[in-house]
């Protein structure tokens, strides 16, 4: 197993997993029990969707609107799964596990290893997927039991560490002007649409940019 792949997988797992503290605390504050909070992390296992659920419920929203918002945010995991399936080639029980850990981080690390070959992509996916799963759930419990001690995640810089972690994952893929143009236009489109569209939609809508960019053979 490539050492760079292992290091990157572990850094991502820990940084992102740590954010589970913020989720655990937010979930309890929104009125969910400890068991419900843990189940959200164990079953849904998708940070953005989970924050959406506790955000909507905490603001007095209905279960239906909580589920809808969370599911819109979850659609991108389906797109990631389509990217990872031909590389992982899994079936049966392994496919269930692979599906559960198909998230931003595991896909991001996997595509970051593309220049090292398909095996490195697989290793990156599994190490990061399982790593985030362990840390995210562990820190969810910690946060639910008493995140007050930690205070605001912003005072630890976690609010910038997470987007920086994603930037670091996409970076190796921005090999040419074509990819850089796609990345820049996707970033701008999502930010511009954020105040207009509901949670989740600005990000998924950039998949259309990827379709437009990929439609014609490049150059």
């Amino acid at each position: 197993m490539n050492r760079a792949t292992v290091t990157q997988s572990l850094s991502v797992s820990f940084t992102v997993g740590l954010y589970g503290v913020a989720f655990g605390a937010a979930s309890i504050a929104a009125g969910f029990s400890l068991l419900q909070t843990c189940l959200l992390s164990l079953l849904t296992f998708s940070g953005a969707s989970q924050f959406a659920v506790v955000g909507v419920i905490g603001a007095g929203g209905s279960a239906l609107s909580a589920i809808t918002t969370a599911s819109l945010l979850g659609i991108r995991n389906m797109l990631y799964a389509m990217r990872m399936a031909p590389i992982l080639k899994v079936r049966g029980f392994t496919k269930i596990i692979a599906a559960e850990v198909t998230i931003d981080e595991s896909t991001g690390v996997a595509i970051g290893q593309e220049s090292l070959g398909a095996d490195a992509m697989k290793h990156g996916f599994w190490l990061t997927g399982i790593g985030v799963y362990i840390f995210w759930n562990f820190f969810t419990v910690l946060g639910a039991l008493g995140a007050q001690a930690m205070g605001n995640p912003s005072s630890w810089g976690l609010d910038a560490a997470v987007p920086a972690a994603f930037l670091g994952l996409v970076w190796p893929r921005l090999i040419g002007n074509f990819e850089r143009a796609l990345a820049a236009s996707s970033l701008i489109l999502a930010v511009v649409l954020s105040p207009i569209l509901g949670a989740g939609l600005p990000i998924i809508s950039t998949a259309l940019l990827a379709v437009a960019f990929g439609w014609k053979a490049r150059r």
Binding site: K95, S154, L189, P195, I204, F213, G214
Partner: protein, 102 residues
């Protein structure tokens, strides 16, 4: 069953269902050159979008704060070919310092 339980179990079921569905799309639909190209580009678009949204928006509003400084430092670290954990740590330190000083 109350609203909290419905939202916990409903979200969990749909989240897993979407992931599983993506893994179940027959490979023949994904292997033509055009789909292959698009499929490679989608994570680049979505993750870049995520960086933007997490850096300068909060709850659907544009907000410029310590996060932007942190991510800008990460960008500099990346362009200097810094190792991955240095990129993440430098962003965290920058953001935390600005947050605490403000």
């Amino acid at each position: 069953m109350n609203a909290l339980w419905i939202s916990v179990l409903g979200t969990g079921a749909i989240a897993f269902g979407l992931k599983y569905l993506g893994h179940s799309i027959p490979e023949k639909y994904l292997t033509n050159p055009r789909m292959l190209r698009i499929n490679t580009l989608i994570p680049i678009a979505l993750l870049s979008a995520l960086v933007g949204v997490q850096t300068i928006t909060e709850k659907g509003k544009w907000i410029i704060d310590q996060r932007l400084a942190g991510v800008a430092v990460a960008l500099i670290a990346l362009s200097l070919k810094a190792p991955y954990f240095v990129v993440v740590i430098s962003a965290a330190i920058t953001s935390a310092v600005i947050y605490r000083v403000r």
